[in-house]
């Protein structure tokens, strides 16, 4: 085994020992090739593994399932009465009025409604689980204002009873975000809401990462007394400083890649977990989800976004989204909102009941989110309130359109709309069969399917997921 005599490599040799062994062949080939131009002898190419915690989610065999005679909301604005949906191998195979499938298990949906599973792009289940005790407070790395290096998946406790409760509310996919104490809170992870043992077993295959950022009161409240930022202007200086660092870091890697491709033997930049995440945003690989309430702050953040050439995928909470609905639409930034939360802090004082329909009405991407372990259990009611309040103010949407706020739009915001979020052939069979019109208080999810597998059925004890934590406790088996 020949080790190139290169000082730099020897220095880095210990660290890269494992890749070295693999690369020897490559180096020898380079030497063997009889190039006229003698290229510099190259050290092994350094590449950061983008997926060190890969999804191990394996859906069970769904079999072939035919759900018949339902009122179907397809999640992209369409409604079909007396519809049938055929599920095969975990996917939606066919949607229509008269589907026959000889081998299928038939579920008669007469009188019931079928929708895509609800997707909540703002949850802290697992990172702020119940019981809500200090030992479980794993959602905010409140040690310094920018912690892009932390990943929410490393805090997720799969035993959180809230996951089961959300499933009973028809939530099939959810994004687990770090909290909003920090300017940059860290990476977010997208999960299928399946009851499993590890976070990897729940991870949505091939979903891009999200990154949490936060505007306004929270960072300045948390850091005002410990070195700053203590003002909104301090917040903005904080984001810009980090984007400058991330841009430089990206330039280093770009330079490294370019020079290596040219046959040179550059030194790879030192890995930096924080800057890797920020660089992922600049490269468009990681989607920015930004907690921001006030209209004026969102406008400033959209300028920061342009200054550093990245995209904010969605503002979260966006309680004043209605004041700049046009600008949100122009900049292609979604707003993930509550139907009616307001007033718990100054930046939430101008919340109105028509926020969601007003954002949607301007052509923007409106999303209903929960940020709550109770709210997540009935997001359909949140959409219903938004729909009714819009209508009362003269903004008309259909129920079918409103379901887009619960499935297609949040799926888009998570970068998984090619896999889920609507009832269309080829999509994952993530579906909810409701006891009736899901825009009624009295309607409940009766059956929930993830990748075609029935994971919840109301009243069926065999399909009620009880976490380890709940065993032999007074609430065992209670919804």
């Amino acid at each position: 085994m020949k080790i190139p005599n290169n000082n730099r490599l020897v220095k880095g040799g210990l660290r890269h020992l494992s890749v070295l062994a693999l690369s020897v062949g490559l180096a020898s080939n380079a030497i063997a090739d009889d190039h006229e131009e003698k290229t510099e002898q190259q050290d092994p190419y350094v590449e950061v593994n983008p997926n060190p915690f890969p999804s191990t989610y394996q859906p069970a065999d769904s079999g072939t399932v035919l759900i018949t005679n339902v009122t179907l909301l397809d999640g992209i604005g369409g409604r079909l009465d007396n519809a049938s949906v055929l599920i095969e191998n975990g996917d939606i195979k066919q949607v229509g009025s008269n589907i026959s499938a000889v081998e299928a298990t038939v579920i008669d949906g007469t009188g019931k409604w079928l929708t895509p599973g609800i997707i909540d792009n703002h949850s802290h289940l697992g990172v702020y689980p119940t019981p809500d005790v200090d030992s479980h407070a794993d959602g905010n790395e409140m040690t310094t204002p920018v912690t892009a290096e932390v990943w929410s998946e490393h805090s997720v406790w799969p035993q959180d009873p809230g996951f089961s409760a959300a499933l009973a509310g028809g939530v099939t996919t959810l994004q687990i975000l770090p909290g909003s104490a920090n300017l940059v809170g860290g990476r977010a992870v997208t999960l299928k809401n399946v009851p499993d043992r590890t976070v990897q077993d729940m991870k949505f295959p091939d979903a891009p990462y999200g990154m949490k950022m936060a505007c306004g009161e929270n960072p300045k409240r948390v850091y005002g007394g410990k070195g700053g930022p203590m003002t909104r202007m301090g917040n903005v200086a904080g984001y810009r400083k980090e984007w400058i660092a991330a841009t430089e870091y990206k330039q280093k890697w770009d330079k490294y890649k370019k020079e290596y491709a040219e046959g040179k033997n550059p030194a790879a930049p030192t890995r930096d977990l924080k800057l890797e995440t920020l660089m992922g945003v600049l490269e468009g690989e990681i989607l920015v989800h930004m907690h921001c309430y006030r209209a004026d702050e969102m406008a400033v953040m959209m300028d920061v976004m342009k200054e550093f050439d990245y995209q904010i995928t969605s503002f979260h909470h966006a309680v004043e989204g209605y004041k700049i609905a046009d600008k949100l639409a122009e900049n292609n930034v979604c707003a993930s909102m509550w139907a009616d939360w307001w007033g718990f802090k100054m930046e939430a004082y101008d919340g109105i009941l028509e926020n969601i329909p007003l954002v949607a009405n301007a052509g923007g991407c409106a999303i209903v989110h929960s940020d709550s372990d109770l709210g997540i259990q009935r997001l359909n009611q949140e959409a219903a309130k938004a729909l009714a309040n819009g209508k009362k103010a003269g903004i008309e949407f259909t129920k079918a359109q409103a379901w887009e706020w619960l499935s297609a739009n949040p799926a888009r915001s998570l970068g998984v709309f090619d896999q889920t979020g609507s009832v269309e052939p080829g999509k994952d069979a993530d579906l909810v069969l409701w006891s009736g019109d899901p825009f009624s208080t009295y309607t409940q999810a009766e059956q929930v399917f993830i990748d075609g597998v029935k994971v919840y059925e109301k009243g069926n004890d065999a399909l009620w997921p009880v976490t380890d934590f709940e065993l032999d406790q007074p609430g065992e088996g209670e919804l």
Binding site: Y322, G343, K345, M346, E354, R378, F439, P474, L479
Partner: protein, 393 residues
């Protein structure tokens, strides 16, 4: 909907702030202004059973929030706190709540570190100069595990302390102490005097509690001090002792959606708490929000979705709420002599897509405007070429 149940095609006559009559059919005598609610649902005004309306505008980092009092280790028992002096009818929350059908509310402390959380007022959300209907309506006590800091944070301290306080209060035998009276109790005269109406059952004692065993302690207290009118608040595990609660006439104010084990006192949390309590004969009231007091219809609706009969759902936010707060003589139902608080709805009031169309409080039809409706209307009109600050809805 009235004290008599459902009345079809009803006519409600209102005169001088109170209801004069409710009749099926019924003609309207001359001299009355008429509100036509043909084909609509009409209910009593909705009551906020446990709110801090009037005591707060913005919760965090925003100045005055009179619902919070931190007295640290002053030894202050807390019975002498009175919210009636802190209620501000100009709070933006009042209009925001009332245009959705909330017409009156208990206004109580939300966050104190004292053993008792003081006396809450019962307020009207109407336009009368004085919003206070009953200034010293209820007494608050928090006996949940995490909140008994006023007694060093352990039940082993808190329950004996409560028993001793109640014994001292009972020793007064219904008579308040005067300045010249001799008194060698541990409590101050002001503190113990504040408990006299509680011991007589004239002032409901609202006890926040969740754990089953704590609720059993309360049942024992009720056996010992029989005149107490006890109402459990939150009461996550109350369904586990529903029969005993019914037998001792202990009512409950709860959040029907609270089904997660937030701490080790709430392991029995379930969506069916309200339904099971009701089935055992316990009176259930619903409504524990302040900024979103207006969501109480949805909360009651969810209790119905999880097994509470619809009539009980409506009662939980009207007649039962009034009863547990001790104001049923004046509020909570559409009956002769009651305060004329009436709501006309677009549909079933417990349905999430229904809304209040007309609201009458103390006999006056209120304007359906709030700070939020004005914000909405300003931005609905944004298409115009006028700068937004000149748009004044």
């Amino acid at each position: 909907m009235t004290g008599q149940g459902k009345v079809e095609n009803a006519t409600i006559l209102i005169e001088d702030e109170v209801i004069k009559s409710v009749k099926s059919g019924g003609s309207v005598p001359s001299g009355y202004k008429t509100i036509d609610a043909a084909g609509k649902w009409v209910t009593p005004g909705i009551i906020g059973a446990y709110t801090s309306l009037g005591l707060v505008d913005v919760e965090y980092s925003a100045g005055i929030a009179d619902y919070s009092a931190k007295l640290e280790d002053s030894g202050y028992l807390g019975t002498q706190i009175e919210t009636k002096y802190a209620v501000n009818p100009d709070s933006s929350l009042i209009n925001i709540a009332r245009i959705e059908g909330i017409t009156s509310a208990a206004s109580v402390m939300a966050d104190t570190d004292t053993f008792f959380q003081g006396q809450g007022a019962f307020i009207s959300l109407g336009d009368k100069v004085n919003p206070i209907v009953k200034g010293n309506a209820v007494m608050l006590l928090d006996m949940t595990g995490g909140k008994i800091d006023g007694s060093s944070g352990s039940r082993a301290v808190a329950w004996p302390k409560l028993l001793s306080v109640l014994q001292e209060a009972a020793s007064l035998k219904g008579k308040t102490l005067r300045k010249k009276d001799d008194w060698d109790g541990d409590l101050t005269k002001t503190e113990v005097n504040a408990l006299v109406p509680v011991m007589k059952g004239d002032m409901p004692l609202l006890i926040t509690v969740n754990r089953t065993m704590d609720i059993r302690h309360i049942i024992h207290i009720k056996q010992k001090f029989e005149d107490l009118k006890i109402v459990l608040v939150h009461a996550t595990e109350a369904w586990r002792v529903a029969d005993e609660l019914a037998a001792h006439d202990i009512a409950v104010i709860l959040r029907p959606e609270s089904n997660l084990p937030y701490d080790f006192d709430e392991l029995g949390a379930t969506l069916s708490n309200a339904a099971r309590l009701d089935a055992a004969g316990v009176k259930v009231a619903i409504g524990m929000d302040t900024h979103n007091a207006r969501l109480v219809m949805q909360h009651a609706g969810n209790a119905v979705a999880n097994g509470l009969p619809w009539e009980k759902g409506l009662a939980s936010i009207t007649s039962v709420a009034a009863e547990v707060l001790g104001v049923a003589d004046s509020h909570g139902s559409l009956e002769k002599g009651k305060s004329a608080d009436v709501v006309v709805w677009s549909g079933d009031p417990l349905e999430v897509m229904s809304y209040a169309e007309t609201v009458v409080i103390d006999g006056e039809q209120i304007p359906m405007t709030s700070r939020q409706s004005k914000l909405r209307d300003r931005y609905l009109q944004m298409q115009s070429d006028k700068a937004y600050r000149y748009i004044k809805p």
